[in-house]
Amino acid sequence: MIERAISLLIISSLFFFFLLLTYYFRHFIYQFLSILVLMVLQGVLFLYLNAEFLAAVQIIVYVGAILIMFLFSLFLFPEEELKGIKTDVSRISYKTFIPIGLLVLLLVISLYRAVPENYSKQEFLSDIKVIGNFLFNEYWFLIYLLAFILSLPMVALYIFFRREDASRNN
């Protein structure tokens, strides 16, 4: 088990490192490349959890298709607009943290209820199938609720941009 623990530590350190790099870089393309590595690392994490199929699909669909389209759209911008990106923290609204807060709350509730006795703890930490079974059997309502909450920012973003367009037209 020690090898698995070490590999998990390495993967999570890399995750953290590249996550920081997305903030550190001041160029859109380099930020994008950090996200690309994060996506590949997610595939590696799936491999760690014995979900080889999911890992391959993660790389083929997200890294091989969706992110390429992302990059494609970035190339349409002039070079001057891609560099010199600065994160303006003051523009982040407190409402952004509502879904994150709810997510943390759900996690706390989950931890409070803990893993039932009929699930082996060893398998629970290393096998994504067991985690999947557990989540869908025990927490299906919370998962649907979470999915609904996470879809809210997307809807909000859409409304936000529509309003901006409308104000521009006026």
């Binding site: 393309i29 790389i59 083929i60 890294v63 091989g64 298709a65 390429i68 990059l71 494609f72 190339f75």
Partner: protein
Amino acid sequence: MALGESLPLHLEILIVLIKIAIVLGVFLFHAAYTVYAERKILGRMQARLGPREVGPYGLLQPIADLVKLLFKEDIVPAEAHKTLFKIAPLLVLTFAIVNLSVIPFHPSFIIADVNLGVLLILAFAGLGTYGIILAGYSSGSKYSLLGGLRSASQILSYEIPLSLSLAGVILYAESFHLRDIVEVQVNSLFGINVFPQILGFIVFLICAFAETNRAPFDLPEAESELVAGYITEYSGFRMGLFFLGEYISMYVMALLISICYFGGWAFPWWLANALPFLKAIPPTLVLALKVYFFIFLFIWVRATFPRYRFDQLMSMSWKILIPLSLINFLIVALIKWLGV
């Protein structure tokens, strides 16, 4: 050591390293001499002689080319993103070579015996695209950038029919493992997959040309429109790395076609029964002969077909190849349902 007992870890690692060395050596040699073969064959097809000055019959030409590429000045443009510019050719080459690790060259010779071989090849093909796109962007030239953009849209469009045509093969074999795919098709009624899945084979073949940026789909590096596309600003050994990646990708595609549609290292049972002496040919040689044929086809097509226009390229993928590959998938499903 008793039979069935696993080897110590250091021995296993040593065996894998030896396998990697063999495969790399063979494929790098093949890539170099495929350039020679291409120049010779193209020469003959265009009523020329091809290379014949360096060594007997021009056989040392690849070595002369290599020496020239290694000693040329390595120019990095002032406008370029230097790190990306240097990494991009390595990405192309690495992801082309990594594909070879999951391909079986013999029933018992494979570097990484993984269950999801086909999916891994598709995944690495997707990652290799980044090398081309980033080369285009990092060069700081409009020609290169347009070459990179064309490559992105081309590979995105052709990956879908390629994967769908492979889905038919996977469904027929009920496995992602390339060795299982060979075994299932050799023992099937048809002997090879190309008969029941002729549509899938045609789609795969066309997509193989597009995925490797070969003529008639070499739009990302169309000489007459974009100078040399994403390679425009590259020189010396970095340019050589791109070409090496392209030729190794050609071999990967030829290997995949041979394994998925032509029975890999085996002959179909009806041919082996009709000509029993074929069973004496070593399996790797059988696979190599099939691969050489498809490499010849790659060169033949380059000499024969004119380049497609970009809109033709796109409409071919989305309007023709994707529906065809879906029809192929339905046919395979029907065959499986009938239990043939």
